[in-house]
Symmetry: C2
Subunit: 277 residues, 2 copies
């Protein structure tokens, strides 16, 4: 039987490091690489990054927005990228940040978590504005399939502070409220089903991240704000093998040459290994 | 020159009523209709709803989640549905509820608001958890193109209350904070660029919705919670032609026969005309 997501992730991290590479074939990235801003340029860039980092990263995080730019043609590219990533043994975290009412969330779960879907991933990101309770059917599906759902708790950008730091009726910040809700659910679901997106640029929350019961996906590394030292301090109390750090821009900007992409990814893997358990 | 979204919407509403029909080809809906849960069933259901309501509704709101279930094949169907809706003169509100950091949000804007994109819509829904400031580049693009962005402020489901009613540092609820932020931006953008998703099932906010400066998209009508009377009271102070009410399940469940679908839609149009300006 397939191991659940958190266990698979822990084994990969203990063996291969904490690096998740963001596949972000934005207009800006394609322009930097001298590629046309179309589905063909998109495919070239996404596959080049994948190829360069496949033996350095433990996971890839395709940013769905950049594929969606080209409609169905972009999704065809994303399906190819995900299939190739699976073939080389990388874990796939689909960065979709979906979030709606419960019945609609099941539509998204069918897309990203159902066996047989062309977009099926090991884990997917969800955004909680319409309520974490509305995501419960998605957690159930993920729990059954041994997959993961990362809830955006604390994003790496400053613009999210007004809402993420607002106070709930129980006098918790929205972030603390969500971390507690996640921890509570992880006690009854397949262990580690729900993780948190927690920006590497943020401060340590009052909630003890070691009690989350699920993995952490940390965006905002490198030129997006946080160096390895900061990341190490922020997550120093977390369980070994539970923190996955996403690096996107630093690696993408080193391309398109494979060796340059790979060198930057390797440096990040090594730097993270020196600060994280 | 093309009129901006809020003006086009107002003219349509004043002429043809307040009804937006939700195109929600969920697994549940396809099962009820006796159709296979695949891209072909999806296309049948979506086009049947579109065909039945094209002279009764002023807008359609395809729920992107249900198309995304089938990956690129589902997006091909969505492109066809959007193209057909445009051909029959309906406004299209893409219900995507996207939301990320600013650079990523531009990827979504390229998908849903860029002329020439296969998914280009008249308006798109965004979710604000990563910050309304992070959506500013999207508002700018919409403002330039005479399109609209509906920000999810108050969702129709109860699960969203914990976050949507949390208090910001300025002692506003998150909803009030967002309504004020929208109103402020609408004073400098193309008039009415930013609208609010405000659940028909909710109470009237302390913020005067007549001061929003943009349209309102109200989900949660009918079997999803709110009857016409409630909708009329909730939005009675709003500008004429600024409230678009989405009805999805009541209409979908009346199908698949065209006459039944159309009859329910027509009843909703008439009921809404009797309570809204």
């Amino acid at each position: 039987m397939t191991l659940n997501f958190a266990t698979r992730l822990r084994e990969r991290i203990m063996d291969g490091g904490h690096l998740c590479v963001g596949i972000d074939p934005s207009r800006r990235q394609l322009e930097r690489w001298g590629r046309d801003n179309d589905a063909s340029g998109l495919e070239f860039a996404a596959l080049a990054i994948l190829d360069a980092v496949s033996d350095v990263a433990v996971a890839v995080k395709p940013q769905v927005a950049y594929f969606e730019r080209f409609g169905s043609a972009g999704y065809r590219v994303l399906e190819r990228v995900m299939s190739d990533a699976r073939d080389v043994g990388l874990l796939i975290v689909a960065d979709a940040k979906r979030g709606d009412i419960d019945s609609t969330n099941m539509g998204y779960a069918e897309a990203w978590l159902s066996p047989g879907s062309p977009l099926v991933a090991d884990a997917v990101t969800f955004s909680p504005y319409l309520g974490i309770d509305a995501i419960d059917p998605v957690f159930s599906l993920a729990s059954q399939g041994g997959q993961g759902v990362f809830i955006v708790v604390s994003s790496s950008n400053d613009e999210g502070r007004a809402i993420q730091c607002a106070r709930t009726a129980q006098e918790l910040s929205v972030e603390e409220y969500l971390l507690e809700e996640i921890a509570q659910r992880n006690r009854t679901l397949t262990p580690g089903t729900i993780g948190a997106v927690y920006g590497a640029t943020r401060d340590r929350p009052r909630f003890d991240l070691a009690q989350l019961g699920g993995p952490i996906l940390a965006p905002g590394a490198g030129s997006q704000g946080a160096d390895a030292g900061r990341i190490g301090r922020l997550f120093e109390r977390c369980e070994p093998g539970s923190v996955l750090v996403n690096v996107a821009r630093d690696i993408g900007d080193a391309g398109p040459e494979k060796r340059s992409l790979r060198d930057v990814a390797q440096r990040w893997r090594d730097d993270l290994a020196s600060v994280l358990a």
